[in-house]
Each structure stands twice: as C-alpha cells, then as structure tokens.
C-alpha cells in the first residue's frame, strides 16, 4: 500500500510541474523578442478587457441618450457618443469580445481543418496529396473577400457565417504550410524510427509529424488573427458581418460613416481599436516568426 502511494507521488509530481514548465516555456518564447513581447501585452490586455467588459464599461453598450447624440469626448463620455447617444467607449469595450471571438473561431476552424488536410496530404503524398491540394487551389483561385461575401450572402447574414466564411478562406494557406513541413519532417530519421517501432499512420502523423510542425502553425495562426479582424470588420462595414445594434467595431465605423462631416469621433475610435488589435496580433506573429522560425537560439528556446 505504501509502495503504491509512493509510486503515485512519483508519477504525479512530473505532471504538475509540466504545466508550470509549459507556461514558463511560452513566456520564454514570447519574451525572447521585443516585438512579440509588445504584441503579447496588447493581446493580453484585449483578452482582459473582453473578459471584464461589464466591469470596465461605464455605460450599458446599447443604452441610448437621445438628448446627447454625437457628443465629442468629454469627462462623462471619454470617447464621445454616437448618433443615438450611446457611449462609444463602452461599445468599444464590449466590441473587444467580438474581436476575441472572431480570433478564436476563425483560427480554430482554420487550424483544425487546414492542419488535418495539410498533414494527410504531406504524409500520404502522391494521389492523396494531389487531390487535396488541387481542391484547395480551387478555393485559392477566388478572391478571398469575394468568396467570403458569397458564402455569407448564400448562408445568411450573421456573425457565425461571417466567421465561418473567413475561416474557410484561410484554410488553404494553413494547409500548404503544414503540408510543406509535413513533407520534410516525414523524411526525418525519427519519423522513420517511428515507423520502425510499428506505429500506425495516425500515431505517426499526430505524435511525430504534427508536434514538430507547430512553430509555423503558431506563427501563421497568430498573423491570421490580424487579417481575420480586418476581414470581419470589412464584412461588418459592408453590412455582411456582425449586425447592429451589436457593438462590433466594423459595424460602428459603418454607422458613423454618415456623420463623418458632423463629427469624426464615432468613426475614429472604433477604427483605432481595430488598428490596435491588428497591431497586437501582427507584432506577436512577427516576433514569434523571428523566434520560432529564424531565431539562432531556436533550439535553446523551444526545445
């Protein structure tokens, strides 16, 4: 009995320390480069704002004050009010939630589908590869935003379809990236050793090829968040994305467009928010690219 409990602690302890080790490793990678450090801070504050939006926002995002419309920034309303007298700061704060949701949904969709297709194509090569990649080429041949608009208008205008459309548009790029690294990692001796150990194709793909192609996936996924934010904002601006009165940055900019000659504030702040969020993810992506893909101390930091 005592023997058993002793063994249990032996196997428990490493598991616990692994979580800590993982977090330390992420921090080491992120802080290895000032670009990614700044980007990481911006992204982290976005997440913070999104989570604590109800606490941080001074007003209800859709509370109207019809006697105080299109007000310039003031002590009461730091970013001013829009055409129905809603507080722009509060709406931007709640808009962060949509931005983060877009980031999560688009990248998850892109990664899950794109990585699976890329892995399968790169692992099996030959006919499977040709079929998958030529199929994706068809997707690539259409202009991305146009394709997204077609998908949204076909399946109905709402936030889910907008995110879905953007996600689908990004799949080919992810597949190509994963395929190319799968093709080269497949030839590594440890993958051949894995085949020598009698692993089935699923295990070889998921446990041996995929973990070693993570760096490009992370970099591409992070940069794609920035593009996704712009694309969803564009769709919203065109009226195909998130619908008013939901406080999305793109839709806010669209609504403020009409009053741009009266007051610039309702359009300045939402676009500024988009710019900062995009900048954050872009910096993070660029920094990670340098550390993970080109860094001299790549081995040291990652492994």
């Amino acid at each position: 009995m005592s023997q058993e409990s002793a063994d249990a602690t032996v196997t428990e302890r490493p598991r616990q320390s692994r979580v800590v080790a993982g977090a330390t490793r992420v921090w080491r990678i992120v802080s290895a480069n000032s670009l990614s450090l700044v980007g990481f801070c911006i992204v982290l504050s976005l997440v913070f704002v999104a989570v604590f939006a109800p606490v941080l926002a001074p007003y209800e995002p859709s509370a109207q004050q019809l006697d105080n419309t299109l007000a310039p920034p003031s002590a009461d309303h730091p970013f001013g009010t829009d055409n129905t007298g809603r507080d722009i700061l509060s709406r931007i704060i709640f808009g962060t939630r949509y931005a983060i949701a877009i980031a999560v949904v688009v990248v998850t969709l892109e990664t899950v589908v794109g990585v699976s297709l890329g892995l399968v194509a790169g692992y099996y090569r030959g006919k499977v590869d040709e079929t998958v990649m030529r199929g994706l080429d068809v997707l690539v041949s259409l202009p991305p935003l146009l394709l997204a608009m077609v998908i949204v208008t076909t399946f109905g205008i709402n936030i889910w379809n907008a995110m879905l459309a953007i996600g689908i548009v990004y799949i080919p790029m992810m597949s190509r990236t994963v395929r190319s690294s799968a093709l080269s990692i497949r030839e590594e001796t440890y993958v051949q050793a894995a085949e020598g150990l009698g692993y089935d194709s699923k295990r070889v793909m998921l446990k041996h090829i995929l973990p070693n192609s993570v760096p490009p996936i992370v970099v591409l996924g992070t940069t794609d968040v920035a593009y996704a934010l712009i694309d969803v904002a564009t769709l919203s601006f065109l009226g195909l994305g998130i619908q008013p009165p939901k406080p999305s940055w793109g839709a806010m900019a669209n609504a403020a467009r009409e009053y741009i000659l009266v007051t610039p504030w309702p359009i300045v702040f939402p676009t500024l928010a988009i710019a900062i969020a995009v900048l954050g993810f872009n910096l993070l992506g660029m920094g990670l690219r340098e550390t993970l893909l080109y860094g001299e101390d790549y081995d040291e930091v990652v492994e």
């Binding site: 032996v10 490493p14 001796t189 050793a193 020598g196 009698g198 446990k207 993570v214």
Partner: protein
C-alpha cells in the same frame, strides 16, 4: 532441431532508377536460430543496412523487395499486410539504429517516447507504463531514471541517447533485435560500453539479434554466426569461430587479413586492391571476380550458388572454388535436404543461378 527464428531465402531488394535497377541486396540467404546473434559484416555500401531494412519491411519507394522470402516464426514477412507488420515491429521485432539522437523525436521527453511504444503495443495503464520506463532506463544504466525520463533528447549525449533508443526497442520485450551499426556514431569508449550492454542484455533476456557492423572485432566478440556481404551479396555465412578460423570465400579471407591486430608489426595495413563493383552494373558471374586473387574462367559465367562448405548445412559460401559440394536447397521447407542431396543440387542450381544471371537485367 526446431525451425529457425528467422529464415531469409534468396532475398533481393532493388532500387529502381532511370538507368535500371540498383541491386543493393541481391539473392541473399541466411538463418538465425533462436537466442543467437548473427553479425552481418561488409564494406560501406555493401547492402548491409538495406538487407536489415528489408527484413523489417522498411524499404521505401523507389526500393522494392523483388524476390525472395523472409520467414519469421514460419510467417512470410514479405507477403504480410502492413497492419500485421506494424503489429510485429517494435513489439516482437525491434530496431536499434546508427545515429541515436536523430532517431529520437525532438518534441517529446524520452519518457514520453518510451511510453508511446508501450501505448502502441500494450494495454498497460499509464502508471504501469511509467513504472516500466523507469525500470528500463535503470536497467540500461541511466542514472536517476525518474529525472532523466523528463529530459528531452537533445539533453542526452550520444551514448546515453543510444541507451534510450535501446530502451525503446526493448520496451515491449521483443524476440528479435535488429541493430544497424548501433555503435558507429559513438566514441570508442562509449562503443565498448554499448557493446557490453547489448551483449549482457542479449544473454539476460534471451534475445535473438542481428548485428550489422563493419567491425570484425565486434563480430568475433559478440556473435554466434556471421554473414559476410559484398556488393549486395552474402558471400559467406557460417559460425563465427569456424569462419574466422578457415574462411571459405576469398573475400572473407581478404577481409580478415585487413583487420589490424595489436600484434601487427607490419608498417602498412593490408588492403584489398580495387574497389567494389557498380551495383547498377554488376558483372556476370561472381561479384568479387575483379578483385579476387583466385579468379578463374568459371567465375565469369553465372552467379555461383551457395555451396555447403562445412560439415553442416549452416556454412555456406558463394564461390566456385567449392564446386562439387552440395548447394543450399532452394526451398527452406524441403525437409529431406540431407536425405537426398543430389535432387536439391539440381534444383537449386537452376533456381539460384538464373534470376541474378540474366533474368533481372
């Protein structure tokens, strides 16, 4: 005597190229008895590794096993399905490779990698898997296994990484261990340690082993039988002591002469004149004819079959010098080989000579 654990018959592995096949392994036969160690020796490029990979079914395009049988416990590995082969690999038949660090996945700790083998082939619970990992690492002489299991491959030296590779290979208690020059990427002192360790493990666990090497000393020290390869051909196969004592093929003889000994006072090492033939353009007849001091007219026509040169059927030589002796039966399952030597002689001469002579051109 029971059937051998591994019986390779007339195995040929060729690599297809635009200019015709490269005959990396050409018409080879050998057997491995249970619990014994077979050494495969030969120069670089003689097909040793390809032969071993063929046995594991790990030959990749454009390579292909074009002929022959590989019988493991009376099951033919060449006709087995991929799924069935995977079931054997890493489980009953295991591999130890040349460059240990390159064969470990850099993304996982070594403990994870060993549990991965166990997860693939056994139903052990997670705790039992880790217990086995610590036991294996300890058994292989890795200090403080609990800590080292959490290390990544790049944190290991070559010798330690090879110990980990051996631990992975032995995780599922295999019957047969195939070692492809397991020590040639290591320091000399570490080589000795790994050789001793493998020998010890082989004896303790009753493993059967095929050991590919170009170190005659290793063969002499660790192996029971040996196969000498030249230009894709096993030219001689027999018991180690017998072969060392009285080699029955001119190539083996020449090869043994080149091994330096500490008693040597000669100012130069012996070498074999010339270089091995182009595997894409093998000569008719014996592959060694161009460098053989005893070459004669008969060597240039038709690849010699395996002559049974010793008292028993397990000593074979591919040299016409032994013409007249009985040859190895073409079919290993022919039980009356000894009872009716003349029949098998006629049988195998047609069988053994033709495919390599002109059939494959």
């Amino acid at each position: 005597m029971s059937a051998p654990l591994l019986n390779v018959e007339h195995l040929s592995t060729h690599f297809k190229t635009a200019d015709g096949p490269v005959k990396a392994v050409d018409d080879n036969s050998f057997t491995l008895e249970e619990g014994e160690v077979l050494g495969i020796v030969g120069e670089s490029g003689s097909g040793k590794s390809t032969l071993l990979r063929s046995v594991m079914g790990l030959i990749e395009d454009p390579g292909e096993i074009v002929d022959g049988r590989i019988e493991y416990r009376d099951r033919d590995l060449t006709t087995m399905s991929d799924a069935a082969l995977r079931e054997l690999r890493g489980n009953e038949i295991s591999f130890v490779f040349q460059e240990p660090t390159a064969h470990l996945n850099p993304a996982y700790t070594v403990g994870d990698q060993i549990t991965d083998v166990l997860a693939a082939h056994t139903d052990l619970s997670s705790e039992a898997q880790w217990e086995r990992v610590y036991e294996l690492l300890g058994r292989l002489g890795i200090p403080s296994p609990e800590e080292r299991a959490e290390s990544y491959p790049h944190e290991f030296s070559g010798g330690m990484a090879q110990r980990v590779c051996i631990a992975m290979a032995l995780a599922c208690e295999p019957e047969l261990l195939l070692a492809d020059e397991p020590t040639s990427a290591l320091d000399v002192t570490i080589q000795a340690q790994i050789i001793d360790l493998l020998t010890e493990l082989q004896e303790d666990l009753g493993l059967s082993m095929v050991w590919v090497t170009h170190d005659m000393g290793v063969v002499a020290e660790t192996c029971d039988s040996m196969a000498v390869m030249y230009a894709g051909n096993v030219v001689e196969y027999g018991r180690v002591d017998a072969v060392f004592d009285d080699p029955k093929h001119p190539y083996t003889e020449a090869l043994l002469r080149t091994v330096p000994s500490h008693l040597d006072t000669a100012p130069r090492f012996d070498t074999i004149e010339g270089s091995p033939p182009d595997l894409q353009d093998l000569p008719d007849g014996c592959v060694f004819q161009e460098r053989c001091p005893e070459a004669m007219e008969a060597c240039r026509t038709g690849r010699p079959p395996y002559y049974e040169v010793g008292g028993d059927s397990a000593w074979l030589s591919k040299c016409v010098l032994h013409e007249g002796k009985s040859t190895r039966p073409a079919s290993p399952s022919a039980p009356d080989a000894d009872a009716n030597p003349s029949a098998t002689l006629a049988d195998s001469q047609t069988d053994g000579g033709k495919p390599t002579g002109e059939g494959d051109r």
